[in-house]
């Protein structure tokens, strides 16, 4: 299965980005082959609907799960409609989060964890 982790950088040593819609990169990781694909998130500059656009990008990659810090209502609705599981509250490096995920230590969420526009300003939960 492929999973998507929101990332501050382009490789496994980067940290998980706490934002979904406006994170700089998506790392698409194949849990079997361990292949990593880096996608520049063009939604970072969207004037509105960044979460929707980001969820569309991730959906097009046919991932089974998204791991991030927080996810807003519109993005969650798209991911949920696409049947993609969402794991939030992740922190640390991508490598560490991957290990937590494989050990089943991440929490799946069934609703948005933040209000709209969380990723636009310096709100730290």
């Amino acid at each position: 299965m492929k999973i998507c982790i929101t990332s501050t950088g382009k490789d496994l040593h980067a940290s998980v980005d706490q934002r979904f819609g406006r994170c700089p990169y998506f790392l698409i990781i194949d849990t079997e082959s361990k292949q990593v694909k880096t996608i520049d998130n063009e939604s970072t500059i969207a004037s509105g609907g960044a979460g929707i656009q980001a969820a569309q990008i991730v959906t097009n990659e046919k991932v089974g799960a998204v791991i991030t810090g927080n996810v807003g209502p519109n993005a969650f609705n798209v991911l949920h409609a696409a049947g993609i599981k969402v794991f939030s509250g992740a922190s640390g490096t991508i490598q560490e989060v991957l290990e937590q995920y494989s050990k089943g230590k991440l929490q799946e969420v069934h609703a948005a964890t933040q209000a709209s526009h969380f990723g636009l300003g310096g709100h730290i939960p």
């Binding site: 609907g49 929707i52 959906t59 049947g83």
Partner: protein, 312 residues
């Protein structure tokens, strides 16, 4: 000539000389569309709009601050809903859609998302451009109307008021403002009360105005936002002048700026306890302070002359 100007009486003197035909037009009692804007909020746009309206023999006020219209707090005209304003939003026929995703890829406002076996529409993000329906290869997209607000109308004495009221939670004021501005009858003295700021709704509010009065206060904050609004109007090639409200506070930097930039300062409204008291009681101050009626009236005539001079 500016579109909003109507000429109630035209006297033409036709002078024919050997090479050219010169038509000299004398206008009398021209009607204008005046917009009142500010940049900074709370500088006194509504105060100026109302005092100007009540200083003219008759006027039509248009409250374009559709997120929070407040002219009628002072005018107190009985209002009725004249029009419900709608926008078109896409609806997807799932019997025709094959989830190709072209609509979502086209939409620059991210109002659509396509996932396997489902299309999600986010109506509040849609700008009703119609692009999704154009790119859909299967004609699966139709339109449905969505109410975004209302236009209310009322009169008090010789003053008319149109006000837009955007529904709570709506992000887009522009379609409502466009509908509101269609109500403008150019044979009347029109005074548009613009929303604060310098963003899209302000630009829509001042569009087509013959003249814009920029209300500011003589403070660093007032000056900062005045400069932003001056830049907007110069970019739009719209003529404007300044009114300094709460004159006496702050410093003279606004006046110095206007002098340097050759911007006329039409009026200074003092920082006065009497005006503040009337305001707090919901009274338009020209109603109690009669000398101000002629000051506003004179200002209107000055602006008329400026507009007439630049359009002839």
């Amino acid at each position: 000539m500016h579109s909003g100007i109507t000429i109630t009486m035209i006297i033409m003197e036709v002078i024919v000389n050997s090479t050219t035909l010169i038509i000299k037009i004398k206008r009398k009692s021209i009607k204008m569309i005046i917009a009142v804007a500010s940049g900074k909020g709370g500088t006194g746009k509504t105060t100026v709009a109302l005092n100007l309206a009540l200083s003219l023999a008759s006027a039509c006020l248009v409250d374009c601050d559709v997120e929070e219209p407040n002219i009628n707090v002072f005018l107190k005209a009985p209002l009725y809903t004249q029009e419900t304003v709608t926008v078109d939003t896409p609806e997807v026929d799932t019997t025709k859609c094959d989830y190709c995703g072209k609509c979502a890829a086209f939409c620059m406002y991210n109002a659509l998302a396509v996932v396997p076996q489902k299309v999600l529409v986010f109506p509040e993000l849609c700008h009703s451009c119609g692009g999704c329906a154009l790119v859909c290869p299967r004609q699966a997209i139709t339109w449905k109307k969505r109410i975004i607000g209302t236009i209310e109308y009322g009169t008090r004495g010789t003053v008319e008021l149109y006000q837009g009221l955007l529904n709570i939670g709506e992000a887009q004021a522009i379609p409502l403002l466009k509908a509101l501005k269609k109500k403008i009858d150019p044979t009347k003295h029109i005074i548009i009360d613009a929303p604060p700021g310098t963003a899209c709704p302000v630009i829509e509010a001042v569009r087509g105005a013959d003249y814009t009065l920029l209300v500011t206060e003589p403070t660093p904050f007032g000056l900062h936002d005045l400069k932003l609004m001056v830049a907007v109007l110069r970019h739009q090639h719209l003529p404007f002048g300044v009114i300094i409200n709460r004159d006496g506070i702050g410093n003279d930097a606004v006046e110095q700026y206007c002098n340097t930039e050759n911007i006329p300062v039409h009026l200074k409204i003092p920082h006065s306890e009497e005006i503040a008291r009337l305001y707090s009681q919901g009274i338009v101050f020209v109603e109690q302070m009669e000398p101000w009626q002629s000051k506003f009236h004179t200002m209107y005539q000055t602006v008329q002359q400026e507009v007439t001079a630049s359009s002839s």
